[in-house]
């Protein structure tokens, strides 16, 4: 297990190096060079020359890359051209919002998807099974931004059950020691602030969780359909064990491996920032910030965020791989 973790962490090094080369080359390859990218297309030649000297864009590429890499290793991801704050600070401030949203989306996807898939498989051909297929299809086919708009229009604008935008009502004067707003409210005892932050998470959470829900339900259904007919399940029934134990220890647990893989991939995607959902709900996570960076040609933010998201994605997948071993002893030995 430790061997696996060490191996995978070591593999991160070439991965990130390769990515840094790509990101470096990408900005250098922009039309007009990086200075134009920073100043805009109408910049004067003098201004461009000044920036080139200031940032060392006139030096040979390998020296530029080496300096870029050295700064990265020191945790310096550059400064946002739009907010003038360090990219890393921007990331750290906004990442908790994305994590909160991801957690809510996952709770919805797993909490509904697994039971739905399980029941569908156990009662194959029933109404529940057929409706789960329909729900899954809708979940996968409806575009996220469309769903997000519908949810916002119906439940926020028309019915007013949930707030429509943001992470918290601006009139609430809450303190934020961790930037996880729900957690902050609980830690500081500001219950109304925690509740308000939670309410702000519901609609974006549903919008974001629908696709993973559909996928998790389908995977669970497929896995349970197979496992419930396995020889060892019949043998377990032959032992006359309690139905709850049969369902839990024998059927569900054995079905969870493929489902776990799916969830892992989804978590990675969710944490990479839900650009559309965060934008529709004006939710200040990394996704909406990255979108704004793209609109404003904020290259340092794009470069830095892509690299940081890659690290997060890799770590999440490592965590998923390690958790296989917790479920399946056969993999533990291979790991």
């Amino acid at each position: 297990m430790i061997r696996l973790i060490v191996q995978r962490l070591l593999l991160l090094i070439p991965l990130l190096l390769g990515l840094s080369v790509l990101l470096f080359a990408w900005v250098r390859a922009l039309p007009g060079g990086p200075a134009t990218a920073l100043l805009g297309e109408r910049a004067t030649p003098e201004a461009i020359a000044r920036i080139n000297t200031l940032y060392g864009f006139d030096q040979p590429l390998y020296i530029q890359y080496f300096k870029y890499l050295t700064r990265l290793l020191q945790g310096d991801f550059g400064v946002s051209t739009r907010t003038a704050r360090p990219v890393l600070d921007e990331f750290i401030t906004r990442f908790p919002a994305t994590i909160e949203l991801t957690v809510v989306a996952l709770i919805i996807a797993i909490g509904i998807g697994i039971p739905l898939g399980y029941v569908a498989a156990r009662r194959a051909g029933s109404i529940i099974d057929h409706s789960s297929v329909v729900v899954s299809l809708i979940g996968v086919t409806v575009p996220v931004f469309f769903l997000a708009f519908i949810l916002k229009y119906v439940f926020a604008v028309e019915l007013g059950w949930f707030p429509s935008t943001g992470r918290q009502d601006p009139t609430i004067n809450a303190t934020h020691p961790t930037n996880f707003y729900v957690l902050d409210g609980i830690l500081t005892g500001e219950w109304d602030a925690a509740w308000d932050a939670l309410m702000h998470l519901v609609l974006p959470g549903i919008a974001l969780g629908t696709i993973p829900l559909a996928i998790v339900a389908r995977m669970t259904r497929a896995a349970v359909s197979e496992v419930q007919n396995a020889d060892y399940v019949r043998t377990a029934r032959a032992k006359g064990i309690k139905p709850a134990r049969l369902r839990g220890d024998h059927i569900l647990k054995n079905s969870m491996l493929p489902v776990l893989t799916t969830i892992g991939l989804q978590v990675g995607l969710l944490l990479s920032g839900a650009v559309l959902t965060e934008t529709v709900f004006a939710f200040a996570g990394i996704g909406s910030f990255l979108a704004e960076a793209v609109f404003n040609a904020d290259y340092p933010v794009m470069q830095g965020f892509v690299l940081l998201i890659a690290v997060v994605y890799a770590l999440v997948n490592l965590f998923v791989d390690v958790s296989y071993g917790l479920i399946d002893p056969r993999l533990r030995r291979q790991q």
């Binding site: 043998t235 032992k239 006359g240 309690k242």
Partner: protein, 588 residues
Amino acid sequence: MSDTPEKTPATLPGSIADDRADDRADDVVLRVEDLCVDFRTENGAARAVSNASLTVRRGQTVAIVGESGSGKTTLAMAVLGLLASNGSVAEGHIWFKDEDLGRVSTQRMAHLRGTELGLVPQDPMTNLNPIMRIGQQIDEGLIDNGLRSRRDARTRTVELLDEVGLPDAGRRASQYPHEFSGGMRQRALIAMGLSARPALLVADEPTSALDVTVQRGILDQLAGLTEDLGTAVLLITHDLGLAAERADTVVVMYQGEIVEQGPARRVLTAPQHDYTKRLMAAAPSLASRRIEIARERGLDDVLDDALLAPGEDGAADGTAAADFLVSVKDVSKVFSIRGSGLLSRSRDFTAVDGVSLDIPRGSTVAVVGESGSGKSTLARMILDIEKPTTGTITFDGVLVGAGGHRDQIAYRRRVQPVFQDPYSSLDPLYSVFRAIEEPLRAHNYGDAAARRARVEELAEQVALSKGQLRRFPAELSGGQRQRVAIARALALSPELVVCDEAVSALDVVVQAQILQLLAGLQEELGLTYLFITHDLAVVRQIADRVLVMQEGRVVEEGTVDEVFDSPATDYTRALLDAIPGKDLELAL
């Protein structure tokens, strides 16, 4: 239950009325009466078992014998209430003591399964939950049925594992199934089946997935335990020899019906029904000689002379190469196994250790041994799938694996495999025609019309009808699939066919048909066979010469008669002794 059960060779007369008359009420554990089991299918109900009646008494072993699809497993599963969800008892009764198992509630049935009825399932590799510790899988039954408290369950589990002869049971109980060998798993499954001390144990092909020597040990253990505990056993098997050896009463099933039943000896020595007679005739056993057709080739004398060469430094003899299609000289194969720790080194594992063998053209050489003896690795090296670590293999005088890619492709034409499992070695999405045609396409054989003609010719050779060419593997029986695999292997007119356990997965009747087919094809096409098998009875039917392998080495070799009639090593004797049905031959 007070009187000790005497092993009555219980007579099972045809009519149930008679049966009732001589019942001692408390002695009958299970009575199946006119049982019919239906499966719901898209084409309406399909009857899998019809009008089956049988009785099992305390301490008695009743064997149900039949080929796959005969309904024997369905009957057993109906008794346990474990029919697949589309199956149900349509008519008749399953009396267990005084309850009709076809009528009791689901909860009651579950409780009975946990206490009074036991199951030892067929395949030890798939019948244990892979992600749960062995001990826990036995504990849970004890706990859920109130036989032991949560605290005491493990102690009892270790006792049970110890009882079935699992060494170091205490430590083993906390291991997972993948850490157990097949034989150990089967022991664990027996411990599980007997954990509640059931009155009736259903043993569904309990050892057919195991090596013969392991098989014997496990059957002895099972027989000893059930005798000590007075457990009634319903033994499901396709192996007549095993039934003869282990059962008091034999029930023969064919196409869902019981065609014959009676005391084991009587059924096997004086079979009444045609099917039983066919089953008897097909059963491979030590008594069965090589298939006559192979004998008639008249090659034997020539072969016997040629075969004196190997072992007596025939390597120096340049002419030897011409007589032998394949010549294996001092071949070893070493695999390195990755270590498990962070810094541990890889270990070497010698699968094949200095093996030499020669296969004369047009003959059949068999390599026998248990799993892990290196016989399959040897076959893979001869097929040029694995490269030997040391030593050489020559085919028709040319070194195997020495040439380039082109030579390798040419070699593949001349040497073809037939693998063990006809279920997994055929692509389920290929029609039979396409499966047989594929090698022809791969080796650019003629145009579409020529290929079609060749496929039809091959189909005829292996006795497949033209209509079957359009079918898919799922629509064929195991024997038919193996015919397809043989036709595919023969498509390119190879000289050597390597049969890796090619008939092991088949029922005896089908097995005999396939062996006949192979012998006939050898006659017709002058083929050379290398047979890899663990089944000595098959060897006697088909082979000219036999090599016995153990732990990567050849421990004995000779003609079939030499090896079978006067085995030179203890290992070979153990293998021969382990074949079920030796008693059967004495009886015949």
